[in-house]
């Protein structure tokens, strides 16, 4: 800016997935932030996905927590933190340290995480700290440790650029890690890299795939065992590299006994997969939640690692297994030991030497001897009263844990619950005794580590909102108030970073991979200026890849191949629960939507939770498109919109996991999921619940738009933000007696002027509330799913209310249709009209004409499918 009021642009890191894209943040001077991709960041080189590009829309204060609260009343930090310190100390004294627990998240910065881990393990004296990374990464951690001796990601993102074959296993990379997907697509364009997708579902990632293997849910071990068998059979084993490993013979013997039929795949397709994998030296196997979230998650990871180890395709450019993580700092959490079974810097809690070294480094009074409770067990312990004081930081377990209803009830029943968050409007925060306002993403300083070991700085560009404070600061003050002044006398993230780096020298000395001791002497200025850098950072090695030299971290210096056997998911389908429920993410939302849900642009892509079901199943159940369905598991019932699609197989259904009590209480998907966990990793099986599906017998369906947030109470509702306010889908089993009265209650508009349209015989009712001709809110009720132009109506609150009850655009205004391209807000109908009028034939032509898909590119697969649909010749009639 030239006017002299410009605020400096800072380099920081995106708040969402584990790709860890660099962003350039420029405060706009009015509390907002302009967000651009950092062209110099090695993860994204300037690109951002739809979510990252919309970060600026999520830093508003509308839902922020302003001050500490105790039992719903605002209070001072002094009172709130003293209460936290007193209750944790009293609980530990009266019931033992194991009655205390922290449940934290991969959204903490490494420095926050470090203080939390130090406080509970070193000083409160329990290992009861676990994190939502347990739901995300634990199986990979376990698999890595079993194979390599440490939790080491061998390769880097550059391997995606240099590979000739990329295999996605249980990863919808196109939607969940769009920037990495675009790196793959760029490699495809540049060097003809082949792409194989292994996923029970046909996802957006399949659009560019050369091969899609829709395997039976949970059968990955059988597939990769078969690959190992074929590797051996075709002589593709690297005998020299095998010298750096143990366990090959047993692994192969087990693989040879494995039955491929468990995958349900066409043997010819499998043969093609094996041919491509074995025949391509430069192969990267990318895996994610489809592998991890399983009762055989660790075995799946090892089945994949076995193949890379047997062929020596690891740690060399363009080769290797690559786990992609779901959270911005899942990796940082693993490094500091934020999991119940780890210590710090990849040191092991159950190794006495490691424990003593850390205890001495921390000068800690007492260290737990054994691993703490992992997430699922932790909340069971909360439920049965063994844990009496619980501190939840930046995560929403009342929604995201399996058997979420039981977890919610457990938290509600816990003696003392502290929640740190930026908002009080989450299912979990509403259950807190003490609610602590944490500084938000754009207000915090520290570091995060992404999926390829790159440590990046996150930098504050905004002042903390209200009285909110950084998490390390809150945690450290509680440590001091509990009496440990010296250990928690931190005054800056840089100081914590240096302590963590110094501790990593001890890990290095034990021969561990995570060693950033080269940074232990960083000055504050160096920390401030820190460039993204990949660990390790030590004298012997800086960044780069691991394992090409054949040196691993087991005591014998070798890697281990593991004999792994296919095991079907824990929950069994049967007569009562005939469907297997897969869960996952949508393109424009993240986790439980506490931030992405604030962006109208992101919320317009898929504004409602849904259940994908195959047409054959839908026909049997007489479910029509747009019907609502009741989805029942042994644990709970959900109501979701049916999307009839061949993206899922017969017998399989899919639902996104983002919706909560705040946005769609009947769509808390993890309430359906069983708490069965992987015996090695403790990670729950979130993608293989069993359910029944039935049509929801709605007496009425509704669609509403509103300037202010409505308060729906119907059997089904789903609310989303819009530029003009809110949009809500509704339905109920029983119609109210008086629609005007119930609509006034919904919108909290007891006295507003009303315009109504009703056709009582058809159960059709439309009501609009307005003031001085401006629309405040409108609701459209019908006996079937309401047929109105939603995307147009959503723009109307605050505008002229004229003709709103028609539910349609005026004759001269075209209906844009649901948004496909969030960056530029381009709707499906707009694209379809342009395709028709201007005869646009390619995604690129659409981009040139409408800009759709030209910013983040996340919507390109959908534009491509739309084009296919539109240009399909009509069936002869």
């Amino acid at each position: 800016m030239m006017d002299g009021t410009s605020l400096p642009t800072q380099r920081s890191t995106c708040a969402y997935c584990g790709v860890g894209c660099g962003v350039l943040l420029t405060p706009d001077g009015n509390g907002g932030v302009l967000v651009k991709g950092d062209p110099d960041h090695p993860a994204n080189f300037g690109k951002l996905c739809s979510k990252g590009a919309a970060l600026g829309e999520t830093v508003g204060h509308a839902h922020r927590l302003r001050a500490p609260m105790v039992h719903g009343a605002e209070t001072t930090w002094d009172e709130a933190l003293q209460k936290v310190a007193d209750r944790f100390r009293d609980t530990a004294e009266m019931h033992g340290p194991d009655a205390c627990a922290f449940y934290v998240s991969g959204q903490l910065l490494t420095e926050d995480y470090y203080v939390a881990n130090k406080l509970i393990k070193g000083f409160i004296g329990t290992a009861n700290i676990d994190t939502n990374s347990r739901l995300c990464m634990a199986s990979t951690v376990a698999g890595h440790k079993r194979a390599f001796g440490t939790d080491t990601v061998p390769g880097t993102y550059e391997d995606l650029d240099e590979a000739d074959l990329v295999v996605l296993v249980g990863s919808n990379l196109a939607w969940c890690h769009p920037i990495l997907h675009q790196r793959v697509l760029a490699a495809k364009a540049k060097r003809g890299t082949k792409l194989i997708v292994i996923d029970p579902r046909r996802t957006a990632s399949c659009d560019a795939a050369d091969l899609h293997l829709p395997l039976t849910i949970g059968s990955d071990v059988a597939l990769f065992n078969h690959l190992l068998k074929e590797i051996a059979a075709r002589g593709a084993v690297d005998p020299a590299f095998l010298n750096h490993t143990t366990g090959y013979a047993e692994a192969l013997a087990t693989a040879e006994a494995s039955d491929l039929r468990a995958t349900g795949l066409d043997p010819q397709q499998v043969a093609q997969f094996c041919e491509m994998w074995i025949g391509t030296e430069k192969v990267v196997t990318v895996f994610s939640q489809g592998v991890n979230q399983s009762t055989s998650g660790a075995d799946k990871v090892n089945a994949i690692l076995n193949c890379h180890l047997a062929t020596g395709r690891i740690g060399k450019p363009g080769t290797g297994p690559l786990s992609v993580t779901g959270q911005p700092n899942a990796m940082g959490g693993r490094e500091v030991g934020g999991l119940a079974n780890m210590l710090a810097c990849h040191l092991d809690l159950e190794n006495a030497d490691h424990r003593r070294a850390v205890q001495s480094f921390w000068n800690a009074p007492e260290m737990p001897q054994a691993a703490g409770l992992k997430a699922v067990d932790m909340f069971r312990a909360v439920g049965d009263g063994r844990i009496k004081a619980l501190w939840i930081i930046h995560t929403n377990p009342a929604v995201s844990m399996p058997e979420a209803d039981a977890v919610r009830d457990a938290i509600a029943g816990c003696d003392f619950v502290v929640v740190s968050d930026i908002t009080g409007a989450t299912d979990t925060a509403r259950l807190a005794d003490v609610l602590l306002p944490a500084a938000g993403w754009a207000e915090k300083d520290g570091t995060v580590t992404n999926s390829d070991r790159t440590i990046s700085r996150q930098r504050a560009v905004l002042a903390p909102y209200g009285q909110s404070r950084a998490d390390w600061d809150i945690l450290a003050e509680v440590g001091r108030r509990m009496g440990w002044h010296g250990a928690f006398n931190f005054t800056s993230p840089a100081e914590i970073f240096r302590e963590h780096a110094a501790l990593s020298a001890i890990a290095g000395a034990f021969g561990k991979d995570f060693d950033i001791s080269g940074l232990a002497d960083f000055t504050d200025a160096e920390f401030d200026a820190m460039e993204p850098m990949r660990w390790p950072v030590r004298r012997a090695q800086k960044g780069g890849r691991f394992f090409a030299d054949g040196r691993f971290f087991h005591a014998d210096g070798k890697a281990k191949l593991l004999p792994v056997t296919h095991k079907p998911p824990a929950a069994k389908t049967g007569r009562r629960y005939p469907f297997r429920l897969n869960t996952g993410r949508v393109r424009d939302q993240w986790h439980t939507m506490t931030r992405t849900g604030l962006s109208a642009r992101l919320s317009s892509h898929l504004a409602e939770p849904y259940l994908d079901i195959h047409p054959t199943d839908a026909a049997l159940l007489t479910i029509c498109p747009a019907d609502l369905v009741e989805v029942k598991s042994p644990h709970a019932t959900c109501i979701l919109r049916a999307r009839i699609t061949t993206d899922v197989s017969v017998g399989q259904v899919f639902a996104p996991m983002h919706w909560t009590g705040e946005t769609a209480p009947s769509a808390r998907i993890d309430a359906l999921v069983t708490g069965a966990v992987d015996p090695i990793s403790g990670q729950p099986e979130s993608k293989a619940a069993v359910v029944s599906v039935h049509k929801f017998e709605a007496a009425w369906y509704g669609f509403a738009v509103s300037l202010d947030m409505p308060g729906p109470k119907s059997d089904y509702w789903a609310m989303a933000r819009t530029e003009a306010g809110y949009r809500v889908e509704l339905a109920g089993r029983n119609a109210p007696q008086d629609w005007e009265q119930s609509a006034r209650a919904l919108f909290d508009l007891p006295n507003a002027q009303i315009t109504s349209f009703s056709d009582p015989a058809r159960n059709l009712h439309r009501l609009a509330f307005h003031a001085a001709g401006r629309l405040l809110a409108a609701i459209f009720i019908a006996p079937e799913p309401v047929a109105v132009m939603r995307d147009y109506l959503a723009t109307r609150p605050g505008a002229d209310m004229d003709q709103i009850l028609t539910g349609r655009t005026p004759a001269d205004v075209p209906d844009p249709g649901p948004v496909l391209c969030s960056c530029f807000g381009v709707g499906i109908n707009t694209i379809a009209r342009a395709v028709e009028t201007d005869r646009l034939m390619t995604v690129e032509e659409i981009g040139q004409s409408l800009r759709a898909g030209t910013n983040c590119g996340s919507c390109k697969p959908e534009i491509a499918s739309l084009l296919k649909t539109l240009t399909l010749p009509q069936a002869a009639e």
Partner: protein, 435 residues
Amino acid sequence: MAREKLVMIGAGMAAGRVLDHLTDPSFGAASERFEITLFNAEPRGSYNRIMLSPVLAGEKAYDDIVTHDDAWYAARNITTRFGERVTGIDRIAKTVQGENGTVAYDKLLIATGSDPFIIPLPGHDLNGVIAYRDLEDTTTMATLSPGAKAVVIGGGLLGLEAAAGMAARGIDVSVVHLMGHLMERQLDPEAASLLQASLERKGITVHCDAHSEEILGEDGHVRALKLKDGTELTCDLLVMAVGIRPSVRLGQQSGLALGRAIQVDDHMRTSDPAIFAVGECVEHRDTTFGLVAPIFDQARVVAKTILDEDATFVQKSLSTKLKVTGCDLFSAGDFATSETRENILYRDPSQGIYKRLVLEDNRLIGAVMYGDTADGPWFFDLIQTGQDISVMRDTLIFGAAFNDREGPPEDPLSAVAALPLEARCNGLTHLSMAA
């Protein structure tokens, strides 16, 4: 060949329209086929009677509503005998006797219209008690001094137009209506209450459920109307607008078949094949007529019949508009409730808008609108054609603009926010592009 002698009695709107047709070559009338004589008791030719209300309200002048002036008749060689009453018809001799002489006819058209009904209340013959029928009545009302008081008995179309016209001239008007709500034949209670509210905003006092008992006078001039409940409404003028009686005196005298009016067949012939009748004086299939639309239909049919061409009069649903500025109402068809009928309602109290559509067997059979009547003709057309409205039922009440739109109707699959791509595209055009 000698020209046929056509005699017409009455020069109201029906007769005016018949003459328009008979003098219009494009209608099929040969020029100068008839030798026409036109009697009219009023000393003038045809004017647009239904526009008397705007004249009363001062929005139009009498000259604006004249449809046929002397020059018009002269140009068409029509003999006019205005201000002359017809005293009798000799059907054997085929002559009509006027006050000033007899005329022979080959064909005779009776278009004598109707007379206003005067309730025989005590005092109904006092000075200052009038009906609302013709220009004279209009002039009487229009020449009251501002601030004078008037009572109108009858809250129907005509009474309200009289009341509003006088109110517009600064007269203090009360409307006395026997029924529970105004215009009960055209409006339902809800629309009537909106109408009553807007009349009251014009300063008109409305008494519904009000039974008139006696007209009180002083010095032979009306002084007040006394109601059964004892209320006395002081007035300088009392207007009775409680309905009309078909004018059947000549038909009766000459022995034509009568019911409540002169009976005609589907071709507008009376029981005498040389005599035709049209307008408010006829009864067709047990129905009499007061609104202009069917009467114009009759005029067209009777003109064809007189021309010895085949034409048939068919009764259709009627629509009503009230010509009171600021009281925009429309009523058409049948809107009585019954178990087989369904209503679609639109209410916007802030704008004073009310609409009700009545459906039976997926057809529109009635419409009542108040405040916004722009779509009245469109609804009226749907009522008359009786077309099945099922496909547009959900948007029907929003009128033509939302239903005559080009393109396919909305795709029901666009009903929800979350639909897979292929389903969302179902309503869109599928292009067949050669690859």
